[in-house]
């Protein structure tokens, strides 16, 4: 008996440590998950069956410039600045990591075509405005407020990760016949030698009328 009890305690303690270690390992595999509303019943939204408006389509109904961006699911609420092209033809990026920027060579959000908005995933010290962009999934909402006070509402259709070396320029920036939005940030592995991430995360969204 005197020998048996410590052995049993050791055995039990060992198991507790294994369970604790496994729990710790699992918990640290995930960052804080976003609070996504639980879909009730069917996963997919029903196809629109009712009448939709057949208004005479007048081309280029004027759309005001974007001023702010809200993505409730990942806590983004930010000003939108304007961006052009840098030398070499790549897009400029915001000098601040806490704001998003709209490429003025792309359509305004809500106008026909792919409006392009970029933001940083992080600074040298912590998260940037698009830190959680990769957590967006099909069906999530994105709102862009414009200079005239109107708001364009978009719904995410997909989230893709591309190696920067194989960035599909045409797919991301190419023309579309409807109003779409592209939200872009960095992601994937970080190369400490070049101080750059190796991939881009692109969220595709379509305007809801």
């Amino acid at each position: 008996m005197p020998i048996r009890r410590p052995a049993a305690i050791a055995f039990a303690a060992g198991l507790v440590v294994i369970v604790g270690g496994t729990a710790g390992l699992l918990l640290t595999r995930h960052s804080t998950p976003v609070l996504r509303p639980v879909a009730s019943g069917a996963v997919a939204l029903p196809a629109p069956t009712g009448p939709i408006v057949a208004a005479p389509q007048s081309a280029q109904a004027p759309v005001a410039s974007p001023v702010s961006l809200t993505i409730p699911l990942i806590g983004v609420k930010t000003q939108v600045i304007t961006l052009g092209l840098a030398r070499g033809g790549a897009m400029q990026v915001p000098s601040s990591t806490t704001v998003a920027g709209w490429y003025t060579g792309s359509p305004r959000p809500g106008a026909v075509g792919s409006a392009i908005i970029v933001g940083h995933i992080d600074s040298e010290t912590g998260p940037g405005v698009f830190y959680k962009l990769s957590e967006l999934r099909s069906g999530d909402d994105v709102f862009v407020k414009r200079a005239d006070g109107s708001t364009a509402e978009f719904r995410v259709t997909s989230t893709q990760t591309y190696l920067k070396d194989h960035f599909p320029t045409q797919t991301v920036y190419g023309p579309t016949p409807d109003a779409q939005l592209r939200l872009i940030t960095c992601g994937g592995a970080f190369d400490p030698a070049t101080h750059h991430y190796l991939s881009n995360i692109v969220v595709y969204a379509t305007e809801i009328r």
Partner: protein, 289 residues
């Protein structure tokens, strides 16, 4: 035989944790390959003397309409609807006719991913037909593209000009021209018939694709400018540089410390188990069981 039981339990535990670790990784890689098979379709009524119609879009083989446009009158064009690539049919019924009634006209259309289509009721009422048009999305770099649909019955033949140049010299009723690239600019467009001329100024930005529809208006010809597609006038080169790495090390982190903890726990448990087993064997020997 307690030892082998402990070993088995330990292996099962490790196996279960490996499985738990593997599942999120697999889920993450699966979610990044979302389906991209989407095309676009829009519906139009371009038959001058045909009364308003109800237009139905069906996914092929499904009798429940995906989209219904009520009371579409001459000159009306719907916005583009994004649809899953595949086969569809479009049916036209007189405005207000029952959805179950025999359509006046119907046609099938195959929607390819990343392609756009216009399905238009064309021609005079006596020869009404549904025509499927392939819509262009791209323009040559820095240019705008334009095509002309001649839907005026009163002016059977129309000359269409852009900045004074005839881009369609002789557009006959119910014809559709091919797309032409024009320099990006604000242009004066004219539709010139024998008895009527329409003039309008349109901004034709680089990367935009337009369809100019010539209609019979209340006072002679009219030009309706449809925007078929728009892209960045000057697309950026490549991706973007939007990170400084401040959170790169903050991700999941190394699993090694936790694996070490699990390993240490396993050693202690196995050690304890072995001692329990040895004690049990000795007791068996002592009692002679």
């Amino acid at each position: 035989m307690r030892f082998s039981k402990i070993t088995r339990q330990f292996i099962m535990l490790m196996g279960a944790s490996a499985l738990l670790l593997g599942v999120p990784a697999a889920a993450a890689s699966a979610s990044s390959s979302a389906a991209q098979g989407t095309g676009w379709i829009r519906l139009a009524h371009l038959s001058p003397n045909t009364p308003p119609v109800d237009v139905y879009l069906y996914s092929f083989g499904n009798s429940n309409a995906k989209i219904v446009l009520h009371h579409v009158a001459y000159g009306e064009v719907s916005p583009y609807e994004a649809v899953t690539a595949g086969d569809y049919s479009v049916a036209m019924r007189s405005a207000g006719a029952a959805a179950s009634s025999q359509p006046v006209l119907s046609t099938s259309v195959t929607v390819k991913a990343n392609h756009a289509y216009t399905v238009a009721g064309m021609g005079p009422e006596s020869g009404l037909r549904l025509q499927v048009l392939n819509d262009e999305l791209n323009t040559p770099q820095g240019k705008s593209s334009v095509r002309v649909i001649q839907a005026s019955l009163k002016q059977q033949t129309v000359k269409f000009t852009c900045g004074g140049q005839a881009i369609v010299p002789k557009a006959t009723f119910a014809s559709v021209s091919s797309y032409q690239a024009i320099p990006a600019n604000t242009w004066t467009m004219q539709a010139i018939g024998s008895g009527s001329t329409a003039t309008a100024r349109f901004s034709m930005a680089a990367g935009t694709v337009h369809t100019m529809v010539v209609l019979d208006g209340t006072n002679g010809l009219e030009i309706v400018n449809l925007l078929d597609a728009a892209g960045a006038g000057q697309p950026p080169a490549g991706g973007v540089t939007t990170g400084f790495g401040g959170t790169a090390g903050h991700g999941p982190g190394s699993p090694l410390p936790w694996l070490a903890v699990i390993g240490a726990g396993a050693l202690v448990a196995v050690g304890g188990g072995l001692r329990l087993r040895r004690h049990g064997l000795r007791r068996q020997a002592n009692t002679g069981v």
